[in-house]
Subunit: 142 residues, 10 copies
């Protein structure tokens, strides 16, 4: 633990966030995401925690990419599925607080998987909400 | 995640609990414990979580040793320190629920450190309460 | 060993089951399957044990995927081969007990091999029955 | 699997038995033995299996040391404990079949632990019987 | 060394033979074969030994594949080369003794190399005879 | 790089600072210190940088231990040596700014070396000033 | 530290410069470059330092390739971006001092990334200037 | 050092020469060759030594391939380059002494690089002569 | 294989012989020696071979130490044991051929074991003769 | 290779020299020294080269320790041995050229060995001269 660093950020997660550069992506995955199978570089276990608290902790330090249309991505609701991913509202609120108005892209499920495989790291939370995975693209630190 | 396994138990922690045998000890450490420095075998990061929830999840699967006087140990309050470790009451309640009446030993701080160095694993939580470290000695599974 | 965890689940197998996510597959292979040669991620030795006992132990914790037609696969009997894989009846009974009515897909031998190569893990048992390999696709834990 | 090799012998266990020389010791441990904590060289998981079947499979290939009084050791019953380790009778029968009359030494519990720490390998079974751990000292292959 | 296991089988070679499954192949290479360069999984040094003794030791435990036309392969004599690989007669005799009448396929040199690269293991002997490399495809252990 | 994290803190150094617990020590070593030879756990290269900037960056996140007399140590000037380590004044100023009045212990050169060998990490800077090594003992994060 | 070697060159960076041969490339990356994600061979952390000082230190030992048109490359300013990368003037001055008149190529951003992925090493500095990444191609040492 | 083994052959180089088989290639590279970048299997440092002495030491033990037209290759002089690689005369003399008349192939520079990437090993000398790299293809040891 | 190097010397054994210096010891162990358990640095498998052929191959390159009374050691016959280790005569003949008159020390069994644990390498042969282990101390190569 | 760095310094040796700090020692060993057996941290092969050229290359960058009586050590001639280690004269000349008048300590053979075991690195040359090993203690770089 350190002064001013949220407890949910593990030492390895902080290291990974620092190693990332402009354009690199990180996935905050829910508890059912095939995180270990998709991770090609880093898989960071974050058991017992939910996505929103991890998201907020990360955004305290992590700028979003202003050079692309949408530096944030979530999984598109499968056509016909009546689920309303209300957790997205929470994400929007947190993101707005730290980064202002940011466009969030909805990505078709299998494209999301492919993109996760190219991400620099995947954080495996225990989030139980549906459609709760989120990708963040790192911006420039000034 | 699996059916019937609390989310706070990471895959590696579950593996370690299964590898342990009769008499082996595990430390659930608070956020200020020098966990990485003391761990001689396994250090299991459990950032963002508190000791009681980890304790309860572990005891769901993990029997305490009935062959010793006290299969549980906490750090003795340093003489003169007015702190009342009220978190111990929570520990007692959880332990009683899973294992019945079990004696809890209070161990002098530096002896506690030495014992932690011999433990099979140390779980590093983000618990903020004082005097919150706890050692569990594994019993026989029947 | 732990309370409530079948003895046939090794610590590493339990860890792997927990690491798997929605859509990941695991192969429970018989004693003649080229398990080590096919495994691209995890090979878990389970010598001395048979497939049904491993299958039952896994299904105690592991939900099957409800989002696909058939979350279970076995090897199709080679055309002309008079063998009746009676062990499949045992599989169906076990699966029904834990997951209800589930469709089991029969996969042509070489397609089965290719699919095994993409599985998250292969469990190498000593099962002697013919046509005894089985693939399970993990579902969502709620 | 190979012709003439019992299924309970894993590839790694067979390798270890072959690497051992005159005077080296192997522990076949029951399911509650702190096998991982004691193993200083090899820990061989053998989950789901019992000690007698492993013992018999090993003795098919493994000669006992004729140069010491007792090439086999079990844990002495703790004074006052009414348990009768009837599994020992099974051990004696198996050993007699393969190696003739061999003296079995009863070793005090903590001395047994220390000796296990020096063994070349520990095989971790799921044996549930009490006082079921056994040490074998390898003899000369002629 | 173990009772009943030929001395020429190293511990690692025995382990590898056990790990192999139905359809996996092993190459017993002569002393001039580029074994280390071709091996993609296991290279097992067997210096100072000849192919026939290794072949015989392996066949004691290793069944050949009855599901293919030719479970054994040797390198085809290069057109124009007057060499008569008399060592093949020795191979046939050994194979017949252990596995009965088995077809031996002659494979063109470069196809042989490509097949060796996909083998589960290559055993590097010091055999000096020409055209002495041999591939064995593992069958089903019953 | 991250928002609010000084550039001189490398990802690995940040990770190490987070892994440390109450009572663990870190050495910020000058360019002539035998850092690689003394480091028993982590050696963190910080070439091209000076001690004061590293010290200040660390103290932004790292509390000093309030439970010991002196949570900071420097090397005692060798008796007879006329050098005045003026860099200590800079250290005092930085420490005061972040942690208030803190006692700094002067440790005899060889005792300092022994203490460095037990530290959790040694940061190897390119500081050229004499007597510029400094040890920090981590306190409790509240 | 060594006599005559600039402090900003870490031991590993010096080793890498020596291992490089004619035609190999090294990237000196600014603080926002995705260095860890792009590095396929060596990533050398150089936190707390700026590109010009690293460039100058490297050129003290490292000849540029005289066999290509442009042995140095920078990222082309994105069309429409009003930024003037004044740091390039500094680069030119340093390069001129060590290697005389050398052509510097401007490479389109994504081509630059692809080239960085093939470089022998990437040095990750904390440079804050925009368009500050630079690639050097090693020449012949005479 | 051993009796009868030239001092310039390092233990690892001798091991590699022994591991090589018929048709495998080794590169003896000059000091400017990008040896570390090209080596896909073994890079053997041989700093402070020249190619001719390494060549002679290797040929003492290493037969050249008699089954190909040219078992030796050097880099073709770039068209227009007036350099006369006189070191080739030295190579020819050494090769003749050990292997008789052997054809030496001149390979275009970039084809040479590609071939080096497939070699079993690259020996990195400090040779300063131009066009001094040489490839040897191993023959059959009788 | 190489010209002039006996086939029984594996690439790794040759490397180890070259790495050894004046005063280092190597054990050529028989098939019952606990080689893997005693080896602290290198264990070199030499299955299928006997000690005399390995001894002779080694002495072709390996000088014995002339600065000690006895550069060769064998295990003393246990008092009362009627065995005559006739293999020693073979050893003496081989040693005499390569190194002239050399004193061979007989070492008590357990002292021999301790000395083997400090040896640079242990070669594990399949020698079946009794009292067949031998230690060689390396001399100066001139 | 780099501009101004002697060819005999390998990339790894240069890295090691840079990692060393005040008081650390390096051994430049002759060809008969048991370098691999004594090295506890780094063994740097320098086959084919002699001690004087390595010594001179090192001293170009490496200051000797001015804080001890004798920053250089050689092995004392064994009493009774008539050898005159004339190579020492060469050492003195080289050292004088780079470091001025420096005292060279003669250390008894076995003490020399013990000291070598604590050195940061041992460079294994092919020097054939007797009594040719030398230890250098690193000084302060200003």
């Amino acid at each position: 633990m350190l002064k001013g660093v949220p407890a949910v950020l593990s030492p390895q997660l902080m290291m990974v966030l620092m190693e990332m550069g402009h354009g690199d992506e990180i996935v905050i995955a829910d508890g059912n995401f095939p995180a270990a199978a998709c991770a090609s570089k880093y898989i960071i276990r974050c058991d017992g925690n939910k996505v929103p608290e991890v998201l907020e902790a990360i955004l305290k330090f992590f700028p979003l990419d202003k050079y692309v249309k949408a530096p944030v991505a979530v999984t598109e609701v499968v056509p016909g599925d009546p689920v309303k991913p209300i957790i997205w509202e929470e994400y929007k609120k947190i993101i707005k607080e730290y980064e202002g108005d940011v466009k969030i892209e909805e990505v078709e499920r299998f494209s999301f998987y492919e993109r996760a495989k190219k991400a620099y790291a995947i954080v495996a939370t225990s989030e139980e909400a549906l459609y709760a995975n989120i990708i963040l693209k790192k911006g420039v630190v000034k």
